[in-house]
Amino acid sequence: MTGMKLDNKEIDQLLKEMADRLQAFLLKAGRHDPLIIGIHTGGLWIAKRLQQLLGTKLPLGELNIAFYRDDFSRIGMHPRVTPSKLPFNIEDRHIVLVDDVLHTGRTIRAAMNEIFDYGRPASICLAVLVERSGHELPIRADITGKTITLKPGEHAKLLGPEPLALEIKKAE
């Protein structure tokens, strides 16, 4: 699928559909007043758009999972880390975790570990723009914009923040 792209318009369309499904999902599960947390960097862009579409007034949470990655001993410290910011108490709250691409699931695992270090949420649901092949952990999204199958060596990358675009690239 190398070369495939989604442009800003297409992404906006996907996000509208996601927002609708998310609202339905939350209503059905009885999860009121949800807090939206986006994962740096792409997840945050998506989360911002979703928040606008959902019309929630609550502040957005930003998660940087740099300190919860499972590959620190292989890779070391990332030179630039924007700190996580959760400007609310998550105790007993319903969380909507947002990311741009779900691939192996390790980022989501790290994100959940980090969230639990801030407190005990009532629930977490996951919304991703793209869910791609290559799961390594038993983690799935509750709301997915688009599901794609990629060949080994291919990567899905979200560019942004304005305009947003999704590209499929071969790894260098």
Partner: protein, 332 residues
């Protein structure tokens, strides 16, 4: 000096040992400050930890007694989820070099990953870094009169928080510069970060020979030295200095070099007052000044934890051996 670079950095230019601020590039020092920024919030969360160094063993090797430095390193290591071993070894039991090496080898045999070292002999941290197994990182918690790099970095972090830019600053370091490893490390860090105007102020008996070669100006009059400065770093005066005929009395020292509100008037109106602690009220600093808004002394302490977390994480991370810079988009 290149000689410090070759031992402190690994082949990829990442921090492996943190022994002195001398010889490290500006980018690296800024990286330490930036990382500390990221770690600063950890202490205000419900769970005051990140799992970054989980499973790693860090040893606090304190050959010189210290409560505040060892506890902040201890706390910093624990907030990174590392296991900590605190060894307070009196200097006398390890006064011979061979015992020092033996101590190291014994600890290595216990599979430790990092040593935080404080020793009364200058060059001790370098010595340990040179003689330790290659997979172990060494952080200097203060060696003799030579260096106290984590203190310098928390000082820089504090300055950056209040002043943002370094290149336009005037900084004064006041007191017993001769015996101060903090002063030396501060000077190297300040110069590297771009501070052009650094002054050292103190009686001639407490200013070391040739210190101008580090790029500082020497003053023996406090008023003259702190005129128009943005930052004043006060150093501790130790009681022994009277016995060694360096000052006649604490009373006279306070009269000439003690920081009072009145003397502070010639500094900039928004000048900040710093001190590595513990402070001697009424000797180097007047209580009113120590407790005023200008004093950032207590902030320095909390910054110390974040800085030490940053340095430990960076040094431990350098041992990963991977040259690839982590890309957030991989392994999602």
């Amino acid at each position: 000096m290149t000689v410090y670079n070759t031992i402190q950095l690994d082949e990829n230019g990442r921090l492996k040992h943190f022994l002195t601020t001398e010889g490290l590039g500006r980018e690296l020092l800024v990286e330490i400050l930036d990382h500390a920024e990221s770690f600063a919030g950890v202490g205000s969360r419900a769970v005051k930890k990140v799992p970054l160094l989980r499973g790693k063993t860090i040893v606090n090797l304190f050959f010189e007694p210290s409560t505040r430095t060892s506890t902040t390193f201890d706390l910093a290591a624990k907030r990174l989820s590392a296991d900590v071993l605190n060894l307070n070894l009196a200097a006398s039991s390890t006064s011979k070099g061979e015992s020092l090496l033996d101590t190291l080898h014994t600890l290595e045999a216990m599979h430790c990953d990092m040593f935080i070292v404080r020793h009364s002999s200058s060059g001790a941290a370098h010595f340990i870094a040179r003689n330790v197994a290659p997979h172990i990182s060494v952080i200097n918690g203060g060696d003799g009169q030579h260096a106290h790099p984590t203190q310098a970095m928390l000082d820089m972090y504090t300055i950056r928080k209040h002043k943002q830019r370094f290149d336009t600053l005037r900084v004064a370091i006041v007191g017993d510069v001769l015996h101060s490893r903090v002063a030396r490390s501060d000077i190297h860090a300040l110069k590297t970060l771009g501070v052009n105007d650094v002054r050292v102020i103190g009686p001639k008996t407490l200013i070391p020979a040739g210190i101008e070669s580090l790029g500082v100006e020497v003053y023996d009059n406090l008023q003259n030295g702190i005129t128009g400065v943005d930052v004043i770093i006060m150093l501790r005066l130790q009681k022994e200095r009277m016995i060694s005929a360096s000052i006649p009395s604490e009373h006279e020292y306070f009269g000439r070099y003690g920081l009072t509100e009145e003397k502070l008037e010639v500094a900039k109106s928004d000048a900040i007052v710093m001190h590595p602690g513990p402070i001697n009220r009424g000797i180097e600093i007047d209580s009113k000044v120590a407790d005023s808004d200008r004093s950032v002394i207590l902030q320095q302490v909390s910054h110390g934890i974040a800085i030490r977390m940053a340095v430990m994480a960076m040094a431990m991370g350098s041992l990963s051996g991977n040259t690839v810079k982590p890309d957030e988009d991989t392994d999602k």
